[in-house]
């Protein structure tokens, strides 16, 4: 059974249709990449899954259950975690504090939550920075903190919103390794990304969105050679009309 | 019945003046996205400025505009520049820094109590002026002349400010800045200067309000507090940031205060105004004219 399924999901803002009858599905343990030009509706689709706003039409099904319009904090308890493209650390607090907030999703005791947080930090080789104030972190570490916090909520589905944007090439490689490692832990991962090199290397399958519609889907190789995709990225004049 | 009409008319007139006192608050919120808690205090300062201008020169009260408006513009401009700007710089990423509320509250306390120390607690009213106590008789009804003048000024000012924001280059730059600070500064607008100007403008408009009030209203150190809270209520009723909303909100409050005493003791009308305020806040926080915003 699929862990996540989008059935004809449509999201309209006033007259603008940001996502247009988008359907996709993700199997357990899969890494699905979602790409598309700027303003294609990737983030809107992402937010529909993450519960930021409900879809106008269609269904979002998680683990066999329709989750349309459920609040982010309820989704989190169900096992969906996300990161933010523009990182949002609790700036005045330490890394450990930040991750402990996430760990409280599964427990109420502080000692237990903190132990859990340290475990997650160790998993990500991040525990040496546990006492650093999160506003003092580098951008790469902030992105890592986003993932650590999300991970501490024990997600089954992890939604990553451009976690590699703004990173140096070496840091991108490291992030790819981290994401692969998370999948090995049995987490299903949906990645929105602009950095083609990374997403091609990472994804089992890729979905391409353009003007809110799915225009291609398949393995990275297949998608990369798809005519519609090239057209979408390079403009119509290069395509065969 | 005749009293009801008379009270309604006087309520509309006084309400327009209330609207004018709140106009500066809404201008400042519209641009800076912060509630200026020192607003009533700025009105108080303006009233003292107007009071002394008129009583020392003996001119017609409305001629005080020539002095009060530029003085208050400069006052507001530098108040923002010196006291509030540092907060904006420190909290760049915060959209509505609550720290500004606190700092402006500090300004309120300082100025109100300095005034108390300097001028004493006494109520001051202009000795005699061409507008004092004048009434127009309309059949059996009496309409207050200074309130009529004030209401006309209020509507004219609101229209002028609206025109300024819609049609002039500076006005548009200010509006652009209010919509998106970062984008505006990228397109070459100096956002802090814009804030200073908006704050100055809001304060200057408050100066106009003070000039309309002084001919019939007492000037005293804590006069601002009355208008401060009334101002908050008016701008929330009308929609924070909306210029016509401020005038309409003011008129609503004015009518309640003026007509209410026909049916209940006067102090109860105050409670009704607070109740209405909370009701609007609960039901439609964007107010009557405000744009929907991410509450």
């Amino acid at each position: 059974m699929n862990l996540l399924e989008l059935k004809d999901v449509t999201k309209q803002f006033g007259g603008l249709t940001a996502v247009d009858r988008l359907s996709l599905s993700m199997g357990k343990g899969e890494i699905l990449g979602v790409i598309g030009p700027n303003g294609a509706g990737k983030s809107t689709a992402f937010n529909c899954i993450a519960g930021v706003f409900p879809p106008t039409k269609g269904e979002v099904v998680f683990d066999g259950q329709v989750i349309n319009g459920q609040k982010p904090w309820d989704l989190c308890k169900k096992g969906i975690a996300r990161t933010f493209q523009i990182v949002k650390p609790f700036a005045s607090k330490s890394v450990l504090y930040n991750v402990t907030v996430g760990a409280f999703a599964t427990t109420s005791g502080r000692a237990e939550a903190e132990a859990k947080a340290i475990e997650v930090l160790k998993l990500l080789n991040f525990d040496d920075k546990k006492d650093t104030k999160s506003s003092d972190l580098t951008i790469a570490d902030r992105k890592r903190l986003e993932i650590a916090r999300a991970l501490a909520t024990e997600p089954r589905l992890l939604l990553l919103d451009e976690v590699m944007a703004g990173l140096r090439p070496a840091e991108v490689d490291e992030m790819v390794e981290i994401i692969r490692f998370l999948r090995e832990q049995g987490i299903t991962i949906l990645v929105i990304e602009h950095i083609m090199r990374a997403i091609m290397a990472l994804s089992d399958r890729i979905v391409v969105i353009h003007f809110g519609k799915k225009i291609a889907e398949g393995t990275p190789e297949k998608v990369a050679s798809d005519e519609n995709v090239i057209k979408a990225y390079l403009g119509d004049e290069y395509g065969v009309s | 019945m005749i009293y009801l009409i008379e009270d309604t008319i006087n309520g509309i007139l006084m309400g327009s003046i209330y609207g004018l006192t709140a106009l500066g608050l809404t201008i400042i919120f519209g641009v800076l996205k912060v509630v200026n808690f020192a607003h009533g205090t700025l009105l108080m300062v303006s009233m003292y400025a107007a009071y002394w201008t008129v009583s020392l020169s003996g001119l017609h009260p409305y001629l005080a505009l020539v002095i009060v408006v530029p003085v208050m513009y400069v006052f507001g401009y530098y108040l923002q520049d010196i006291v509030i700007k540092p907060i904006f710089k420190a909290e760049k990423d915060v959209r509505e820094p609550s720290t500004v509320i606190i700092v402006t509250t500090g300004v309120w306390y300082v100025l109100d109590n300095l005034t108390l120390m300097v001028f004493g607690p006494q109520y001051r009213s202009l000795p005699d002026n061409p507008l004092q106590g004048k009434m127009i008789e309309l059949g059996e009804m009496f309409i207050s002349v200074p309130k009529l003048w004030g209401a006309i000024t209020a509507v004219a000012t609101a229209y002028a400010v609206y025109y300024f924001f819609q049609k002039t280059r500076t006005g548009r730059a200010i509006r652009a800045c209010s919509l998106d600070r970062d984008a505006a500064s990228l397109s070459g607008i100096n956002q802090y200067k814009i804030y200073n100007m908006a704050f100055g403008l809001g304060t200057a408009v408050t100066g106009i309000a003070a000039v309309t009030l002084v001919p019939f209203y007492n000037t005293f150190p804590s006069v601002g507090v009355l208008f401060d809270i009334k101002g908050f209520i008016i701008v929330v009723l009308g929609g924070l940031g909306s210029i016509p909303g401020a005038i309409i909100g003011g008129i609503i409050v004015g009518i309640i205060e003026s007509v209410g005493p026909q049916f209940m003791t006067a102090t109860w009308t105050e409670a009704i105004v607070y109740g209405l305020f909370l009701l609007v806040l609960f039901v439609k926080p964007s107010g009557l004219f405000g744009v929907k915003y991410d509450w």
Binding site: A91 | I87, A90, V103, L116, Y274
Partner: protein
């Protein structure tokens, strides 16, 4: 140094100490010494405040100190929602008023002990807090602040205008006088200031302990997270509005308890002395200057500001009315511009430095 490790860090196995292990252990030793110093100082302060009425016998001074503790208590209650939850309530005096009026009416009209009335007032304050908090705590920024002001002012105007609320006599603007007939613990009424001193001290210690406990609990983490980055907190499973509502309920309850204390302490309450905007603002000022969201901040704020207000009222009251409010205002502006996290931050730094130096001194001394 003796060769024995302070804790079982496992370096018994190593034939000789590495630099790292040595550093770890000396850091650990310093930590232990620092903790001890902290505990000793805390104990000393505790003994000092417990013994204070034996030293200070002047009722005037005791009165001032009681008010300092009273404001420290109020501000610490305020801090639960105003500090940790990151919102700005500016009408907290209404809950103080609800507490004061509830226990006073119950005791005057029905002979119910204020100790019991205190908790009835607390529960009523929670109900009132929910009326105003449930719809507005979801909103951002200034709206909550404005709503709390309007609510408090609305209630004050109402109380000033009614003699009776149903069967309950509120006596309008004249307020309620509590005749000092039954002096003693059962009726929460004393002829000396000393019992009041100990009552407010215990109340303060309880609220401080509670704040400490909350700040280390899931609720505390959720409040801080929701206050700093609501969206991120929600994505991590935090129902931000619910956390704020809980904090508001706690805050209202404890604020109301102070109302009963105030009524019994002054034996006279009226709308302007309880539900006043000035008190609401003073509470917020103390918290902000001391440092909102920290445990020490409110106490520090009250310690620094209350004497300013009391002394300037005593000494400048006639010549310079409002002097203390000018000082409050100036301090507030300066603190907000230069120390936005309140005075507790630099003071904590200084305190830490002193303790560190003391710890270093002790360790060196011990080595000899």
């Amino acid at each position: 140094m003796t060769g024995k490790p302070i804790t079982g860090t496992g370096d018994n196995n190593t034939p000789y100490e590495t630099d790292d292990a040595f550093l770890d252990r000396s850091a650990l030793a310093r930590q232990v010494v620092k903790d001890t110093i902290n505990k000793v100082l805390l104990g000393a302060v505790l003994i000092l405040v417990l013994a204070l009425p034996a030293v200070i016998t002047s009722p005037t001074w005791l009165h001032i100190i009681v008010l300092i503790f009273f404001y420290a208590y109020l501000t610490t209650s305020w801090n639960m929602v105003g500090g940790f939850a990151g919102v700005l309530p500016l009408g907290h005096a209404v809950f103080l008023g609800i507490g004061a009026y509830t226990s006073t009416v119950l005791s005057l009209q029905y002979g119910i002990s204020p100790w019991l009335g205190m908790f009835v007032g607390g529960i009523l304050a929670v109900a009132a807090g929910m009326v105003i908090g449930l719809p507005t705590l979801k909103m951002r920024g200034a709206y909550f602040a404005l709503a709390t002001i309007a609510f408090a002012e609305g209630v004050r105007v109402m109380v000033e205008n009614i003699e009776y609320l149903g069967p309950f006599k509120l006596n309008g603007p004249r307020g309620l006088q509590i005749p000092p007939l039954n002096i003693g613990w059962g009726d929460f009424m004393f002829s000396s200031k000393v019992p009041y001193y100990y009552i407010i001290l215990v109340m303060l210690l309880i609220i401080l302990f509670l704040t400490w406990a909350v700040s280390r609990s899931k609720l505390g983490y959720y409040l801080t997270a929701g206050g700093e980055e609501p969206e991120a907190a929600q994505a991590l499973g935090v129902n931000v509005s619910r956390a704020k509502v809980i904090a508001m309920a706690l805050s209202c309850f404890f604020t109301a308890l102070a109302g009963t204390f105030y009524a019994q302490f002054s034996l006279f309450i009226h709308p302007k002395s309880t539900i006043s905007l000035d008190i609401s603002f003073e509470i917020a000022f103390i918290a902000l200057i001391g440092g909102r969201g920290s445990i020490a901040g409110p106490v520090l704020g009250a310690l620094l500001l209350r004497p300013v207000s009391d002394l300037s009222r005593i000494y400048f009251g006639d010549i310079l009315p409002g002097m203390h409010l000018v000082i409050y205002g100036v301090v507030l502006i300066l603190v907000m511009i230069y120390q936005p996290r309140g005075l507790q931050e630099p003071l904590t730094r200084i305190y830490d430095r002193v303790v560190n130096r003391m710890a270093a001194g002790f360790i060196k001394g011990g080595d000899k």
